[in-house]
């Protein structure tokens, strides 16, 4: 097949710091290239150059054999390059058709009125191409995350995209939505469209891509066709060493004393008679699809959402009508799945975020905050978390990579020495190295006698870390699996709520 995009010797420096060193890759027509690498490996910069946001210091690109050097995102779009970003660029308050034609509404001849009929016809055709059974007049706010992504793809098609770049497209999708996305990508490939697929989810990359290029520190660490490489090898190329055990061994077994005990927890439409226990030194994994009630359960335990009935006990003491403040006082910590929106204050420094949940501990005489102490405790915690920077007072968390941001959130909670740590998607969108750090921290926590409730969409992660896995579907616990009999298929089945409930052993 013919080559669609050829990138050669791409080099880019910012303020004398070279972040791309002669990167080269190529995309064939009708094929998908997987671009993987840790945060900071040069993926974003390469894509920003491809999209016309940055111009390279050196190197060349050819699109369909023609030299391609976009000076602006507009030129990139005109050349047939489309981006499907992790955070979608749609207007939820507008309808599907308005979103598709937002920059080029067809007019009625010379009159400044929008030609509605034409838009509707074209939108219907585009929606059928991406298998989205919605009317063009549906507001985007009514669509799920996965459906919105399909609208973005339709938008790319409406601009006759030749190359579509997907940046972490599966992070907020349910599994059926992921399958549907992959089917659409296969269809795009069949039409001769080239794909660049960027993701930390290496299984997805292996499922979608024909070729894989691994970046590390701004260099190409390796390139191979799918058949010639496996996930272990990709990880080794990404981190520059081989990772034998992604999930570190834990030296302790769960103790007998129960830290969290939940019984009869119910809330109409969200939770139905949920009951389970977590012991000291135990990691309990919670598997469920998006919308199954897994995050809602966590939020109820932490006092963020109300519940109608049921009892929560921490270390035997009942937690009545919890609020975040009373839950924290009882020893509960909560890492939310929405790191940027809820976990951190992005405009605060590392130090300010680190102490936000434990301010009284940094107060000095007269209860006044002691800035020196804030710096000191934040620097200590930063070292313990292996943060990438030691400048905890000057660095705003929004300038950190996802993995380092997550370490700040975890550090913030560890300062409170939690009895129960609820982790909702702790490794979402962070690279392999940072993931391992998170796993190490979880192990340290349970070894110190805390209890952990781990929620994750990655079944491998649950299996790797948990002592016990509970499955939840439609607000009901549907299964409980002890470490000895973890079975990927059975857990998935119970989590989707398809099979009859496995016998509970909570």
């Amino acid at each position: 097949m013919a080559t669609l995009l050829e990138v050669e010797g791409l080099t880019k420096s910012f303020f004398g710091v070279t972040v791309l060193h002669g990167v080269g890759f190529s995309v064939e027509k009708g094929k998908a290239l997987g671009l993987v690498g840790e945060n900071g490996s040069g993926k974003s910069t390469s894509m920003n150059i491809l999209g016309g946001i940055h111009q390279p210091s050196a190197g060349s690109m050819r699109l369909d054999g023609v030299p391609y050097a976009p000076a602006s995102p507009k030129e990139a779009t005109a050349a047939g390059i489309a981006f499907i970003h992790q955070e979608l660029n749609l207007f939820p308050n507008l309808t599907i058709e308005e979103n598709l034609f937002i920059d080029s509404f067809p007019h009625r001849g010379v009159l400044p009125f929008i030609n509605r009929a034409r838009i509707r016809r074209q939108t219907e055709e585009l929606l059928s191409q991406v298998d989205l059974p919605h009317r063009p007049s549906t507001p985007v706010s009514k669509l799920s995350q996965g459906e919105r992504q399909l609208v973005e793809i339709a938008k790319a098609l409406s601009r006759n995209a030749r190359l579509i770049i997907f940046d972490e497209p599966t992070t907020s999708l349910t599994r059926p939505e992921v399958e549907r996305l992959f089917a659409i990508i296969a269809r795009l490939k069949a039409r001769g469209i080239g794909i660049i697929y960027i993701s930390h989810a290496l299984e997805d990359v292996m499922a979608v891509c024909d070729d894989i290029t691994v970046l590390r520190d701004g260099h190409v660490a390796g390139s191979a066709a799918r058949g010639e490489i496996d996930v272990q090898r990709i990880i080794a190329l990404m981190v520059g060493r081989s990772i034998d055990a992604i999930y570190p061994e834990r030296s302790v077994k769960p103790k007998d004393d129960v830290v969290l005990s939940v019984s009869g927890l119910s809330q109409p439409g969200v939770a139905k008679d949920i009951g389970f226990e977590i012991r000291a030194g135990e990691v309990v994994g919670l598997a469920g699809l998006m919308g199954s009630g897994r995050s809602e359960l966590a939020r109820m335990l932490f006092g963020l959402d109300r519940f109608a009935r049921g009892e929560i006990r921490i270390d035997g003491k009942p937690l009545v009508d919890p609020t975040p403040a009373t839950a924290m006082a009882a020893g509960v910590a909560f890492l939310t799945e929405d790191r940027r929106g809820e976990g951190l204050i992005m405009d605060f420094t590392i130090a300010e975020n680190m102490v936000l949940a434990s301010l009284p501990t940094v107060a000095g005489a007269l209860g006044l905050i002691d800035r020196g102490r804030i710096s000191a405790v934040a620097a200590d915690m930063g070292r313990a978390m292996h943060l990438s920077t030691t400048k905890v007072d000057d660095t705003l968390v929004k300038h950190l990579s996802g993995g380092n941001q997550q370490k700040v959130v975890i550090g913030k909670w560890l300062r409170r020495r939690p009895r129960l740590f609820i982790l909702d998607e702790p490794t979402r969108g962070i690279d392999v190295g940072a993931k391992q750090e998170v796993y190490r921290i979880v192990n340290g926590l349970v070894e110190a006698g805390s209890a952990v409730l781990l929620i994750s969409s990655e079944i491998e992660e649950l299996i790797g870390l948990s002592d016990r896995i509970l499955t939840i579907s439609r607000g009901e616990l549907t299964g409980s699996f002890a470490r000895g009999d973890f079975d990927r298929e059975a857990i998935m089945t119970a989590a989707t709520g398809l099979a009859g409930a496995t016998e509970m052993r909570a």
Partner: protein
């Protein structure tokens, strides 16, 4: 390389030191103070009177009530709210306080406790209106702009109506001498008003920068969801900022009433936009999460310098408005530019 850190355009090497120095000045805490000094130096040849003791103490006298209200407003702006009711609180507090202590048919005419009782009544008005504002925002989830716009209209009208029950004229005069002495008296050469405003300023500064409550204010302003999950009592924090703003407006009402020797329902009617403008010129963000008391002090000072110098130059009122408008617009532009610099630092 994260995308946000790489979006700025590198300056040419030769320009960099100068650009850097300019950037540093723009980002400095004392940028507005520097601006004040530069402005005085520039205007001095035209109005040398500006550096006389007489004018300086006039500026200081004008500045105090404005400053106290602006300090309260700073709290509300940092939590990403706005308090438009401050001038109505000033009017209401002034007339209520005056009705208690006035020598003509006052509730406590001639009583020894008349003045302290009046002061308490004024504070109570500010705290009560602040509570209405705060409860509406926290409990009913209403935008503070609408809530305080409504309370502003309501209490501005109520203040005028209130006067009709207590006076035949449009304001309540005949205030006790011990109260009006507050505007004119001084301690160790420092006017009482200046001493009071200074004390409030220091207290507010310590509260914001050195206490847990202060950290909460910034956290709630920057990201209420993250603040809530970190155990911050978001509602209580918002509530308190409106109470502080209301109480500060009450203190300003005392200053105005004692200076004018009357409780007027239109006291401070025109200062609302000056207050918000001054806080924003100082560098406090209307989007919340950012602001400092010292910035507000400099902002108020700068605005009054312009005001006074224009008056000394004999400018007409409309000219002063035009210039002040231009300066506030400029301040907003500079703020955007500063923000851009900070993001790409």
């Amino acid at each position: 390389m994260s995308p946000s850190a790489s979006t700025d355009t590198p300056a040419a090497p030769a320009d960099r030191p100068r650009a850097l120095r300019l950037a540093k000045l723009l980002l400095s805490e004392y940028f507005v103070l520097v601006l004040c000094v530069v402005y005085v130096a520039a205007i001095y040849p035209f109005v040398p009177e500006i550096l006389t003791w007489q004018v300086a103490s006039n500026i200081l006298g004008d500045m105090m009530p404005l400053l106290v209200v602006a300090i309260g407003q700073t709290f509300v702006l940092i939590i990403a709210g706005i308090d438009l009711s401050i001038t109505a609180i000033i009017s209401m507090a002034a007339v209520v306080g005056a009705s208690v202590m006035t020598g003509t048919n006052g509730y406590l005419s001639g009583s020894a406790v008349a003045v302290p009782a009046a002061i308490l009544a004024m504070l109570a008005v500010g705290v009560a209106v602040g509570a209405i504002n705060g409860l509406s925002v926290v409990r009913l989830n209403m935008p503070s702009f609408i809530v305080t716009l409504a309370t502003r209209m309501f209490f501005a009208g109520l203040a005028i109506w209130y006067v009709t029950f207590h006076s035949t004229s449009s304001s309540i005069a005949d205030l006790p001498a011990s109260f009006t002495a507050f505007a004119t008296g001084s301690v160790l050469g420092v006017p009482y008003t200046v001493a009071l405003a200074f004390a409030i300023g220091v207290a507010a500064h310590v509260l914001l920068s050195r206490t847990q409550f202060g950290r909460w204010v910034y956290a709630v302003g920057a990201n209420p969801a993250a603040a809530r999950i970190s155990g911050v009592p978001v509602g209580r924090t918002i509530m308190l900022t409106f109470l502080i703003s209301g109480a500060c407006a009450s203190v300003a009402a005392m200053m105005y009433a004692s200076r004018m020797q009357t409780g007027s329902p239109i006291a401070g009617e025109n200062i609302l936009l000056d207050v918000i403008g001054a806080v924003v010129i100082g560098g406090t963000s209307l989007f919340g999460g950012k602001g400092k008391i010292v910035w507000t002090v400099f902002g108020v000072l700068f605005l009054l310098l312009i005001d006074t110098s224009m008056k000394l130059l004999g400018s007409s009122l409309f000219m002063i408005y035009i210039i002040k408008g231009g300066v506030i617009l400029l301040a907003a532009t500079v703020d955007t530019f500063r923000h851009h610099l900070l993001v790409n630092r």
